[in-house]
Amino acid sequence: MNREFPFLLRDLALVLVSLLTAGCALKMPHDSTKLDTMALGALSADDPMTCRYRKERVHGDPNLHSSWEFIREPQRTESYDGATRQGEIWERDTQGRLTLTHVFTDEKVALDYSTGDLKAAGRLPVWASVWSIVDPGLFGKALTLQGKTAKGGLVLETYAGQLAGVDTKIDWLPALKLPARIQKTSPTGTDSLSLEQCWPMAKAPRLPTPESQLNHYRHIDYSDLGDMETDPIVQKIVALSGGHAHGSAEPH
């Protein structure tokens, strides 16, 4: 059996549900067909860009939504959750090694994961799932093609299937190698992540966090957390990260 396969499934599930469950506010409807295809069509996957998504959670009242921003460069991605005010910076070096910095904006803390930390924690994803939010390697496998549409020269592919036992539907923009919409439906409701707009980096309303800003954050290595249980800041970021059973991994 190909041992990689279950991990791919898990990686995608992790990313998807992550995006769909962290902080939300009030709901608005969304439709992939309403995308600004002209603006998106002017971009190619290789262009550094910033995209704004809308995250919705419909599990009874009140329905919740929030903004989620994604900045992509060839070897770096950065995401920022408007509700939790936390971000993630993934980087891939010339040897293909991945590192993660989990940014806690309000606390001015950067939690650094080395490649080894990610391996030991069992959380080293495939780069494609980081760079494209979902892993395109799943298309044609766990997620099968349901149809293609084209509007303004922009092709939209729709895939569906089950990931980790959850019905999942993805509208995919092959030209940008990004999802236009991810929807997961479970017995308790629906979570979705919907693309609202993308900008080339030069015109983007949000740019990568500058090093000068991160240099003034307190940097903590993930592997050192176990020795820092009495540190108040560590206690706070662990709680914010859902590190305790009652923490913020629960729906906001």
Partner: protein, 533 residues
């Protein structure tokens, strides 16, 4: 051939066998066959243990050298499990045994063959279960102190604020065995697979009220009067400075404007603009700074002095993940061997501290495989040290101590039969032993921690711990190097444990380790061995 293999012989042979890298998964077998034994071989083996003990002669010589090994977080259960895991590898068998492996339990890690053993009480002044700072302080200064503080007395409050980092700490400094050795004209060395500024190695050379002040960027204000730990290493004033330093933690030595020499996406972490690696070679005209295995291999011990090896921006790789290429990292055994050959040039002798620093980190992650393989790497380093000292004819002049700073909540449970894969599920015969909930369980487990991660929370953050049982354990490959054992109490990071740890010793004054001792007594044994006043 009908030779009956005595477990003791097998254990000795095992201990002398160099361990090849373990496979990514040790799961190829569920059960490892036991060496042939019967009542008379067991009796003879036990008798031989006693006969050998009767031959022990106390070594009352003045020690020329002390090598002090620490397995960070290496509690007794970790030693036992690592011993079995090593013994279950294909290379660790008696050559007379033609079977594919040994059952493992009869194996012994290299330091378990040392003649003297004691238990060490690891509590600190203000902690029942301690962290590495006060425990290592106790071992290298002879004085217990408070949580989070390095080689300062309990009267100095923990450093938190800008005011704290400008406090005068000279009245609180505790002299370390390394400093005393430099003052005595000996050579000194510090080797670790953790950041070299991390608590355990740092307690040898640094004095600070906060173990986390590893670089100036970690301190609560710019320009603190108490230097950060990396600076204290480079500006070390005793003797002719520390002669041999190897480990991780490069980013604490480089300014945040300098790109890391190995990772193009990373930079140093210092805010003060100082490049401490260049300051090292400025301070020591005979000094060298190396970053990778290629640079390590190029070092010639006979002509090199004042070595600073920094092989990763943060901690070095786990042994299970270590890059063995020229661009990669040396093993702990290789660093230990190079250190001894560099330090032995001093006719007055040397003090060397060697730490397997990542046993602790893997346990915190709830990942037994990496904790145990790093423990085996420590065993390899101790074996290499013994072999090198024998070659140099200095074994009898060297006190070697192997201990731990604290334990972890790591257990070996159930009633697995002899030879059951130590990373596997508890079995009786070919059947899985089932718990009261009808599910199997693993031999190794944690009392707290992140737990199994198959259904890890779906966020790329610190993951939500999974308490209790893994519903899919029956089909899980628990011997995979990335498997995370079940944990009872859900915590984002598994914790240290408060029970005693072992002290293994051989050489001059080693016989002074006996019974259950306070952890700070270790310093006093080393001091006695060196005959320091």
């Amino acid at each position: 051939m009908t030779a009956k293999i005595k477990p003791v012989v097998l254990a000795v042979t095992s201990a002398l066998t160099v361990l090849a890298a373990l496979p990514a998964s040790a799961a190829s077998q569920d059960l490892f066959l036991s060496p042939t034994s019967n009542a008379s071989t067991w009796y003879a083996a036990g008798h031989k243990e006693v006969a050998d003990a009767k031959k022990l002669v106390r070594n009352n010589k003045k020690a020329k050298n002390v090598i002090f090994f620490i397995g960070d977080g290496m509690g007794v259960s970790t030693v036992t499990a690592a011993r079995i895991l090593e013994g279950q590898q294909p290379g660790i068998i008696n050559p007379a045994n033609t079977r594919a492996g040994s059952s493992g339990e009869e194996n012994a890690l290299s330091f378990e063959r040392f003649p003297y053993l004691a238990l060490s009480k690891t509590y600190s002044v203000n902690q029942q279960t301690s962290d590495s700072a006060p425990t290592m302080t106790a071992m290298v200064t002879g004085v217990k102190n408070n949580e989070g503080e390095l080689s300062v007395s309990q009267d100095l409050p923990k450093g938190k604020t800008a005011e704290d980092c400008n406090r005068a700490i000279s009245p609180f400094l505790l002299p370390t065995i390394l400093e005393l050795s430099e003052d005595a004209g000996k050579s000194t060395g510090v080797v670790s697979t953790a950041r070299i500024t991390h608590a355990t190695p740092a307690a040898n050379y640094a004095h600070t009220p906060n173990r986390d002040w590893e670089s100036d960027a970690d301190q609560p204000a710019a320009g603190c009067a108490i230097p950060d730990i990396a600076r204290q290493l480079v500006e070390f004033k005793h003797g002719d400075g520390i002669d041999f330093v190897m480990g991780g933690g490069r980013d604490r030595f480089l300014p945040n404007t300098v790109t890391d020499p190995e990772y193009n996406t990373q930079k140093g972490k210092r805010n003060d603009g100082r490049n401490l690696t260049t300051e090292w070679t400025t301070a020591y005209k005979d000094g060298a700074v190396v970053y990778d295995k290629k640079g390590f291999d190029a070092l010639i011990p006979a002509t090199t002095n004042h070595v600073l090896g920094l092989f990763e921006p943060s901690h070095m790789q786990y042994e299970a993940d270590r890059d063995r290429s020229a661009n990669g990292e040396p093993s702990l055994a290789e660093m230990t061997d190079k250190a001894i050959r560099t330090l032995k040039k001093n006719k007055k002798g040397f003090y060397l501290h060697v730490e397997a620093g990542r046993v602790d980190h893997a346990h915190h992650a709830g990942n037994a495989y990496r904790a145990l393989t790093d423990t085996i790497a420590l065993s390899d380093a101790v074996r290499k040290a013994v072999d090198t000292l024998k070659e140099l004819k200095q074994l009898d002049d060297t006190l070697i101590i192997v201990s731990a700073d604290h334990s972890h909540v790591f257990t070996i449970g159930g009633y697995p039969e002899r030879g059951n894969n130590i990373l596997g599920k508890v079995k009786a015969g070919s059947d899985l032993t089932l718990a009261a909930d009808g599910k199997p369980y693993t031999t190794l487990a944690y009392a707290n921690g992140p737990g199994f991660q198959k259904n890890a929370p779906p966020d790329i953050k610190i993951y939500k711990p999974n308490p209790g049982r893994d519903d899919e354990l029956a089909s899980a490959d628990t011997t995979d190097k990335d498997y995370h054992q079940e944990a009872l109490v859900p915590l984002s990071s598994e914790t240290h444990a408060g029970e005693d740890v072992a002290i293994y010793a051989t050489g001059p004054s080693a016989h002074l380790f006996h019974g259950t001792m306070e952890q700070n007594a270790i310093f006093h044994v080393m001091k006695n061995a060196f005959r320091y006043k």
